[in-house]
Symmetry: C2
Subunit: 194 residues, 2 copies
């Protein structure tokens, strides 16, 4: 049996990665395809970084990787362009109904967000609390301010409710984060300057 | 013996991929690191897309990929941000001393460049003619205009000389393409608005 990306599904994998947020990823892919098809924005998920160790060359044109390891993304998962502006974000899902554990965002990713803000780009998190059926946009500036002011290793749902913006489920696009960006950064009606 | 990214170097591989432009890639990595360290721009190379077929899980935290294939990048290799603007480009090296073969740029990559231009981003090629020791910046608009007006499957060096901008080798940053972007898009001295 084949799983997304052709990865063979086995019991062990299911147990290990059941919490990975494939549904959120799939909904964001649909959303990004919608934005692309309608010439609204051009946002892509970056490929997963993989450290290749061994390659077998059947021929010059046919290389089979026989040993490799998954690596951590040094930047964020998604980036692209909207109205000329640089967009860069990370999406995470948690089953926890009280808080979002910060261990899901690595230090180098937070540093990367700082750089993007410094260079006048737009960076944010999309966090889904799956057990609450709530999805939030949390602007990079609000994430950094939380980290600066708090010692705790998780962000409570209340912080998202107060400082984030809830993204309501829609039919298409499913997760309309560009609407949030428009309201926050372009101060206009949705897609008005398109 | 280990090769960049830890790939074991073997004779066959060397024969197959000697023309891949590792030197240009390494110089661009140095250049991007320079821009990042000095807070000038934040540009990263995207990971190579790899289609994972088989994974062996030693444990939940230790996954070894045992079968996978290299895939083509659906966008361009490098993207990021400069002065809030979205930057997206591809770098290629050719040993040919008369022209750059267009088969090195795929149709979906050209479509992607069209999208980026349409959305007011900055997209371009960096082409090195290694036998001539010449490196050019060719703006996306000039590439698209060449393709529209010509049936030929390669771009002659003369077109780069006329419509591109030569990037002279420097010590640091080695390939100072941000200077070109500054002149073309920000009409100011180098890094002046930083």
């Amino acid at each position: 049996m084949k799983y997304p990306n052709g990865i063979k599904k086995d019991k062990k994998r299911e147990t290990c990665f059941s919490n990975r947020g494939m549904k959120l990823e799939s909904e964001l892919n649909d959303t990004n395809k919608y934005y692309l098809d309608l010439n609204i924005a051009c946002i892509h998920k970056k490929p997963t970084p993989i450290k290749v160790v061994d390659v077998y060359y059947k021929s010059c044109k046919e290389a089979v990787i026989t040993k490799a390891y998954f690596e951590k993304q040094s930047t964020l998962d998604y980036n692209g362009i909207y109205k000329g502006k640089y967009i860069d974000f990370e999406a995470k899902e948690t089953k926890n109904s009280n808080y979002f554990p910060l261990k899901n965002i690595h230090t180098h990713q937070i540093k990367h967000m700082e750089k993007v803000i410094q260079m006048n780009g737009i960076t944010f998190l999309i966090i889904r609390f799956s057990s609450l059926n709530l999805t939030f946009y949390l602007d990079g500036s609000k994430l950094l301010s939380f980290i600066e002011k708090n010692d705790r290793k998780s962000i409570p749902v209340s912080y998202f409710k107060e400082h984030g913006i809830q993204i309501l489920d829609k039919l298409r696009p499913t997760i309309d984060y560009i609407k949030v960006i428009d309201d926050l950064y372009f101060k206009g009606g949705i897609y008005e300057n398109k």
